[in-house]
């Protein structure tokens, strides 16, 4: 996933000396070339994602929170590059034969940055916090759906009792939305904890200047890196300046000018430009979970008719749009799952652009007349589709993609109304069922995301008010497949069940897969050791150091 650096770092002593002279930097020159990490310094990170409204990822639970909280919070387990579960704050675990009882051993000798020791009771308090409706959790809450009881057996032993076997439990627990925080911090109440959550991570939140930046400082007592980290002990960086720069052109300009060291959410044209520029590196780490897709709201007309859903999908030319707008930086997807999910199943023939078929399907569905604007009409009603677009989450290329789909759909007689909204109005439109189409990427480790997105119960809102089944699929046969898949322990059986489930979602025309959830970071050449954590591909700056 990680592209090799294109240009080698400065190795010559003369060059290093020149750099020192130029930058007036006081840190010691790298003695043996770039291999020797340098301590200290401040790294400036510019995020193009929305600024979180709460820095505690238990609350709500979205990707902007995951990006920053990965620097100061840690989870019970992690993943390595091959998707294997790694111990983290839990050093060991086992499950009972019936899969209903899980016993975790909590890592010894770890303390939160407020001095509270990490023990089984602290983890129990975190699970209770996520499950408490007052926390308004959605992502973490849904991931813990089967955890019926959590109990601290002794200081180091935590026992989880499940209501049904959960083959995705460890994958769920690896996510930043279920990271472990100091129980003392949680007890301060939501406002204080949102402003500065307290974790065991390599950095701690020092200040949050809203609408501008978050200042993170090194945790000098840090002792709990995951097994795949490349060093031990405290982080190299002294501070991180985590800035919010929503405009992609200014973000890239700031990176070029050296005002910032790392940017996320690099746009396709920027990525292409950076590939031809000197002094920049690229880190490409697509997110796991769902692909970027349009969900077709089957819960209300006109998409309650499968023929209309198929007609829409056949009427739009996604291939050309992805090619033209993403300039080769994103692959077209034909699957409900991200391509980084090993169990992703694709079926391209269902999504072939076929305007004639679209017209025939609409005629068959009774949308035979057209009004003066060329839109189809049935019983005096226009064939209108509302598509609320979150301008915080949809990158400009994606918004342009929607405009292209709008134009294609118009030829078939659909009126697609694009509604650019800020994040809270967008959540509002979804909550009021005021949409026919929506793009709501969902990041979760493992194929169990399918259960969250397409099982009937996903139409019931989580405590935050968010529901994940935006396609409003209510199919008992699919529910059965997804529930069985989440309970079996045999990997082959699990794979087969998930394949059937994905086929059912695709053949029901509930979604129009577009492309993978992109996650491209651009960094200056002197930033070393940045990697994306293989769980949800959020960056971790623990191993990062500045070669200057």
């Amino acid at each position: 996933m990680t592209r090799p650096r294109r240009s080698s770092a400065l190795t010559g002593a003369a060059a290093a000396a020149a750099l020192l002279l130029l930058s007036g930097c006081s840190s010691p020159a790298p003695s043996g070339g770039s291999a020797e990490p340098v301590e200290g310094g401040t790294l400036t990170y510019a995020s193009g994602d929305a600024e979180p409204t709460c820095l505690d990822p238990h609350v709500g639970g979205n990707y902007p929170q995951a990006l920053v909280s990965t620097q100061y919070l840690e989870s019970l387990v992690s993943l390595d590059e091959d998707g294997k579960i790694l111990p983290w704050l839990a050093s060991d675990w086992e499950q009972s034969d019936d899969g209903l009882t899980w016993t975790f051993t909590i890592r010894d000798g770890v303390t939160f940055t407020d001095g509270t020791p990490l023990d089984a009771e602290a983890v129990r308090a975190n699970i209770a916090h996520v499950q408490d409706p007052a926390t308004l959790s959605s992502t973490g809450y849904l991931a813990l759906g089967k955890v019926a009881n959590a109990e601290a057996v002794d200081a180091r032993t935590l026992r989880l009792t499940l209501s049904a076997p959960d083959s995705a439990l460890l994958e769920s627990l690896s996510q930043p939305w279920l990271a472990i925080q100091s129980p003392e911090g949680i007890a301060r109440g939501m406002d204080a904890n949102c402003a500065a959550p307290i974790g065991t991570g390599p950095f701690a939140v020092e200040a949050w200047d809203r609408q501008s930046s978050i200042t993170l400082v090194r945790n000098d007592d840090y002792s709990s890196p995951p097994g795949d980290a490349s060093h031990e002990g405290p982080a190299y960086l002294e501070r991180i300046e985590w800035r919010f720069l929503p405009d992609s052109a200014s973000r890239y300009a700031a990176l070029q000018a050296g005002e910032v060291d790392v940017i996320d959410n690099a746009q396709p044209d920027t990525i292409v430009q950076a590939q031809n520029a000197d002094g920049l590196q690229e880190l490409d780490a697509p997110r796991p979970g769902s692909s970027n897709r349009l969900e077709l709201n089957s819960g209300k007309p006109p998409f309650d008719d499968v023929r209309v859903r198929e007609a829409f999908i056949r009427a739009v030319n996604v291939d050309d749009a992805v090619q033209g707008l993403f300039l080769g930086t994103a692959e077209r997807s034909y699957s409900p799952l991200s391509s980084v999910e090993p169990l992703a199943y694709s079926q391209p023939d269902l999504f072939e652009y076929d305007p004639e078929a679209a017209n025939e399907l609409l005629d068959a569905a009774g949308w035979t007349e057209r009004d003066s604007d060329g839109y189809r009409v049935k019983d005096g009603e226009r064939l209108t589709l509302r598509l609320p677009v979150s301008t915080n989450q949809s990158i400009p290329a994606e918004q342009s993609l929607f405009e292209q789909l709008q134009a294609g759909a118009k030829d078939a007689g659909f009126e697609v109304v694009l509604d650019p909204l800020d994040l809270s109005s967008w959540y509002g439109a979804l909550g009021e069922n005021d949409y026919n189409l929506v793009s709501a990427p969902y990041t979760k480790v493992g194929p169990d995301v399918l259960r969250i997105l397409y099982e009937s119960s996903g139409t019931t809102p989580a405590p935050s008010g968010y529901f994940a089944n935006h396609a409003q699929v209510r199919d008992p046969a699919l529910d059965d497949l997804l529930i069985r898949a989440s309970q079996v322990s045999d990997p082959d059986e699990r794979a087969a069940l998930y394949e059937d489930a994905q086929r059912m979602v695709l053949e029901g025309f509930y979604i129009l897969p577009l492309y993978d959830q992109q996650n491209t970071y651009l960094l200056r050449d002197d930033v070393q050791g940045l990697r994306a954590l293989p769980t949800v591909s959020a960056p971790t700056l623990y191993d990062t150091w500045l070669d200057r």
């Binding site: 405009d247 992609s248 052109a249 890239y252 300009a253 746009q267 044209d269 292409v272 430009q273 030319n317 050309d320 749009a321 090619q323 033209g324 707008l325 301008t391 400009p396 290329a397 918004q399 342009s400 929607f402 405009e403 292209q404 709008q406 134009a407 294609g408 694009l418 509604d419 650019p420």
Partner: protein, 298 residues
């Protein structure tokens, strides 16, 4: 605002100068022929009006027709202004965007003028108490930058081209009101109004026959100048995503969409920007010329 205030001062000083010369239509009224700048401005306006009225003749290509595989083409013979991120012809989009942009500018200016006339006349004619009230209200409104007022308005009534028009109109009204009030006060004290009053003409008659005509002539000039400004403001609102909604070809919205690609595809932003500048400049140049004519004719 500053533009309007300068114009107001000019308009007023014209009146004062006329008075100093002892009456209307005096002096050096040797009519000047239109200069190169004015001719160019007139040509630009003619082109804009043609684009607004018959866009399909000026640019036959459908401004909404996408062609994804021809995205980001630089200007060429086939696409004189290049293509945008969806392969749409930018020349065609700019031309088709003229109508909405001009209409928006003119409608917003009319709304602003209407509001200004009502407030200004009330302040200038209805006595001290009303004058005091209106003036304090205007001062409060002036405390906010005009664009901020427009933003308030849009936050309350929701984005869209109609609300954007009203928002720009409403937020320009205080400026016009103040100018009209000043103008009214000057005219009211002029010799001919005094004469009419002395001759026993009714209050309304004096207002309608003598005061308003002499107040509104400079106002027409201000309106012409205001259209350019209103277009710029409306484009700003669309740029912020608060005006036209996609896929409408509106200049501000085009600027906003192209901004992302400004370092790789300059033509996405350059041409809509050029048209905004040309429109604002052309209306201002002609507005000034009109102003001069009014002053010279008296």
């Amino acid at each position: 605002m500053s533009d309007l205030e300068v114009s107001a001062r000019l308009a007023r000083s014209g009146v004062e100068r006329r008075r100093a010369r002892g009456g209307p239509g005096g002096g050096r009224a040797a009519r000047r022929l239109p200069g190169a700048g004015e001719s160019a401005a007139a040509l630009v306006l003619l082109f804009l009006i043609a684009s607004a009225l018959v866009p399909q003749v000026v640019a036959p290509v459908d401004p909404l027709a996408i062609s994804p595989l021809e995205a980001f083409r630089p200007p060429s013979a086939a696409h004189p202004f290049g293509t945008d991120e969806s392969g749409r012809d930018i020349f065609s989009r700019v031309v088709h965007g003229t109508g909405p942009s001009l209409l928006l500018g003119i409608a917003a200016t009319l709304i602003g003028l209407a509001g200004g006339v009502v407030l200004g006349t009330a302040a200038g004619m209805l006595g001290r108490v009303v004058d005091f009230g209106v003036n304090r209200l205007l001062e409060v409104l002036f405390a906010f930058p005009g664009l901020l007022l427009a933003l308030f308005f849009i936050v309350i009534f929701g984005p869209g081209i109609v609300t954007a028009t009203i928002a720009v109109g409403v937020s320009t009204a205080p400026g016009y009101a103040r100018i009209i009030r000043g103008q009214l006060l000057t005219v009211r004290r002029s010799a001919y109004v005094e004469a009419a009053t002395v001759l026993g003409r009714g209050r309304w008659r004096v207002l309608v026959r003598h005061i308003l005509p002499n107040t509104l002539a400079p106002l027409f000039v201000l309106g012409t100048l205001g259209v350019g400004q209103a277009i710029v403001w409306a484009a700003s609102l669309s740029y912020l995503g608060l005006g036209a909604v996609p896929p409408a070809a509106e200049w501000g919205a085009m600027l906003a969409a192209g901004r992302t690609y400004i370092s790789t595809a300059w033509w996405l932003t350059f041409f809509p920007g050029l048209f905004i500048v040309l429109t604002a400049t052309a209306t201002t140049v002609l507005g000034r010329r009109l102003q001069q004519r009014v002053r010279e004719q008296g």
